[in-house]
């Protein structure tokens, strides 16, 4: 071992300004060969913009970048690639209708007009075998699961000669098992001298994956630590600048009568393929039912058949005992169902309308907001002001257009509206996805508060931590079916993970506990 390793990458005093915001304020970064650096921070802390600077998507306003000690200018993703920097974005940059191999060579310049696909596929197979990145190069992207697509992205970067791999929240879409595999891949890569930076706001991953951790807070670098010398509590404190409660205060649930009942519900996607295959589910007043599962196993459709946004092809949906199968979204809203949609920008708000208008998008039909067909602007403003204070929405004014708020405040706006209009059932799909610790806490507490007000809450989440802390019961979905149900107090993460991967509860229990324990959970 050499006594002093030279960093493969150095960023010095990087400053990136956006109108009204300093995304990065004199940030320094060092990355050593064969090591994994975790970039930790809340939403809006500047992690992604710093990495976009490195990947050639943004130009820094100030600061210098050195690769292997040499000063470089990264003006485009192509430059970044030439320097051996490859980024796996949160939203994969893959063409669905093309094969894995085609995606991997897409955009490469040194490819012949008629590419030698045989040779390319061979090379891909070599890489994929070497790193245990199991993917069929001839498969089409649309045939692949999200986890596999991520592998394609990583493969693509390695194929293109990436020495420094940037991963933007790579585990958000993975099962615990898949995360584990990703960890192995990273270790294999680093053992060969490649290095990686990964962006996250999950403490456990920092501990599991990285050698070093850099914490950003409000665009500034707060700390650099060796991962071995820190712990999740300390990191969380540094990240938000205060102590965070990891377990929220919650009394035991006191479930009452069922308020939302699904009986053998079936649904198809646009292509006519079944996405819900006979789902039975009950949510009682005063309880939170969590739905676990890897994204894309029917959870979104589940929330949408309940809210009337997706047609039901078989079975029944009952709200408060009333038949609500395939009723219009409006009649379901009137039956008391509120909805925090999975895609908050596309479905939850109208970005070009004001915070005030967005807050009344459920209440505008009623007096006194609307009086004889006309909307009362003063009443809207009053209502909005009250909501902004109650839910601590941070906005310049209630007249500000929602699209200029941060993700957390957009979600708080939705939350305020949906909770104010909730009449028995709250369906929440990934309510804290992409939110920082502070906003996540607010969202989770509000779910519990709804439960304590005797509403039934259905919480869909891909974050097991969230389900375990917030939900009272957890059902696990896989390919449109419910694999089993566990009580969250005595739930076992490994067991849930197995069910998320498609193992039915009984088999999962046998596999995990051995057959003699199968009966007592």
């Amino acid at each position: 071992m050499e006594t002093e390793k030279k960093p493969i990458l150095e960023m010095r005093g990087i400053t990136k300004r956006f109108p009204g915001v300093v995304a990065n304020d004199g940030v320094d970064l060092e990355l050593f060969p064969g090591e994994v650096l975790a970039l930790l921070g809340e939403n809006g802390a500047g992690k992604s913009s710093l990495m976009n600077v490195l990947a050639g998507l943004y130009r820094p306003d100030e600061g210098e970048i050195y690769i292997r000690g040499e000063r470089v200018n990264i003006d485009s993703p192509r430059d970044a690639m030439a320097l051996g920097i490859g980024m796996v974005h949160q939203n994969f940059m893959l063409v669905e209708t093309m094969t894995v191999a085609e995606n991997i060579i897409l955009g490469l310049r040194d490819i012949k007009t008629v590419p030698d696909m045989g040779g390319i596929i061979k090379k891909i197979r070599q890489i994929s075998e070497h790193y245990k990145l199991k993917v069929d190069p001839k498969a089409y992207i649309w045939q692949l699961s999200v986890g596999e697509q991520q592998r394609v992205e990583i493969l693509k970067q390695i194929y293109r000669g990436a020495e420094i791999l940037i991963l933007d929240e790579p585990t958000a879409v993975l099962t615990p098992q898949e995360s584990e595999e990703l960890n192995h891949i990273l270790q294999q890569m680093t053992s060969e001298g490649k290095s990686a930076i990964f962006i996250t706001h999950k403490m456990e991953e920092v501990i599991d994956f990285s050698d070093w951790v850099r914490v950003l807070h409000q665009g500034k670098l707060v700390t650099v630590k060796k991962t071995a010398e820190t712990n999740p509590q300390e990191l969380a404190r540094l990240m938000v600048g205060r102590e965070v409660l990891f377990r929220i205060e919650k009394k035991p649930a006191q479930p009452k009568e069922p308020v939302l009942v699904l009986e053998q519900v079936q649904a198809n996607n646009e292509k006519g393929m079944p996405v819900l295959k006979g789902v039975d589910l009950q949510v009682r007043r005063g309880e939170i039912v969590g739905v676990a599962g890897v994204a894309g196993n029917g959870q979104t459709e589940l929330t949408e058949v309940i809210t009337g946004l997706h047609p039901v092809s078989g079975g029944r949906v009952l709200v408060d005992g009333k038949e609500m199968t395939n009723r219009s979204p409006l009649s379901i809203i009137k039956a008391g169902v509120s909805h925090i949609p999975s895609d908050r920008i596309a479905m939850g708000v109208v970005g070009d309308m004001s915070v005030a208008n967005n807050l009344v998008m459920k209440g505008y039909r009623k007096e006194p907001i609307t009086h004889s067909g006309l909307m009362n602007l003063r009443k809207i403003a009053e209502f909005a002001q009250r909501m902004v204070e109650l839910f601590r929405i941070s906005t310049p004014s209630t007249a500000t257009r929602v699209k200029f708020l941060s993700g957390g405040n957009i979600q708080k706006t939705i939350l305020a509206r949906e909770i104010d209009s909730c009449g028995g059932v709250l369906v929440a799909a990934y309510p804290s996805r992409g939110l920082d610790v502070g906003a996540t806490e607010a969202v989770r507490n509000e779910m519990v508060a709804q439960r304590d007000r005797d509403n039934g809450v259905l919480l869909v989440s891909e974050d097991l931590e969230e389900l375990l802390t917030v939900a009272d019961r957890i059902v696990v979905m896989f390919e449109g079916q419910i694999m089993g149900e566990v009580q969250s107090e005595d739930a076992n993460v490994e067991l849930i993970g197995l069910m998320m991967a498609g193992v039915p509860k009984e088999r999962a229990e046998k596999q995990y506990y051995g057959s003699d324990h199968a009966t007592d959970v």
Partner: protein, 357 residues
Amino acid sequence: MQLMFEKRKSLSRKAIVLVPVVSFLVSLLLSGILLAIFGANPMRTFAAMFNGAFGSWSNFTETLVKAIPLMLTGLGVTIAFRLRFWNIGAEGQLVLGGVAATWVALFWSPFIPDFLLLPTVILFGSLVGGLWAGLPAYLKTKLGVDETLVTLMLNYVAILFAEGLYYGAWRDPQGYGFPGTREFPQAAWLPRFSGRAHVGLFVAIAIGLILWLVLNRSKWGFELNMIGKNQRAAQCMGVNVKRNIVLALLLSGALAGMAGAFEVTAISHRLQQGLAMGYGYTAIIVAWLSQLNPIAGLFVAVLMAALLVGGDQVQMMMGLPAAMGLVMQGMILFPMLAGSLFTEYRIKRIDKQEHAE
């Protein structure tokens, strides 16, 4: 290349007002250059145009005559555009409204009491104009057919259908070969108040004011706003998106249809060549230049009408082509479209320094 534009944190109110005004000035400049190329003195031409449109009461009434259909079609297009429904078929809706009005005025008059004839003529014209816009709306919401093409193509259907009627079946036998129907009975004439300016002006202004209230203050306007800005979210909030699109387009087309009914009942008193003179297309400029604000739309319609009348004037006075007015109309749109960028974006200067680096 580096992106030169940055998204503004909030809409610039200054830009909302400034962009149309500056666009108009830029179009004057561009037209001035064009005039100079034609060998005309730009300032004198503009003065003549202004004079032609506003120089005397009778000139002004002519401007109003052209402003009325522009107001109505402009308002109709505004409703559709607020929904991001690209109705470029106001021309056809206007023409078919005129045809429907003519049908009632000519063939129903024996069966309808005089005092009811005119209202029936106007209402039927509006109704048919509405249905002509409702058709593409229905196709779009039901089958996902692109509305831009359908509304455009339906213009030709309507215009040629009208031609077929006044050249053929409905042609006035005593018309000395002039393509047009016979004159309407007097009970179907829309009263004029000065020159050819008719009471349709007050109807159009009233509709503009009411429409402002409906679009900006009513529950329905709120729903239309949501649909226009985020259809999926509107659906999530329980808004019946498809029904509202069809309803809004019925209203959009009805206003164009009403404009057509006004043209035949107040101006020509018959269906004849010249009904399709491009109001429905100019309406698109009216809608954009008014930034989809109905009240602003009323004023912009007068401005666009002034360009048309002024264009006619320079043809008579200075021997320049009347199309000059149309050229100027078109030239407003370019800086307008380019300029609307500035309401949402601003140019970042730092980038220039970076490039110099």
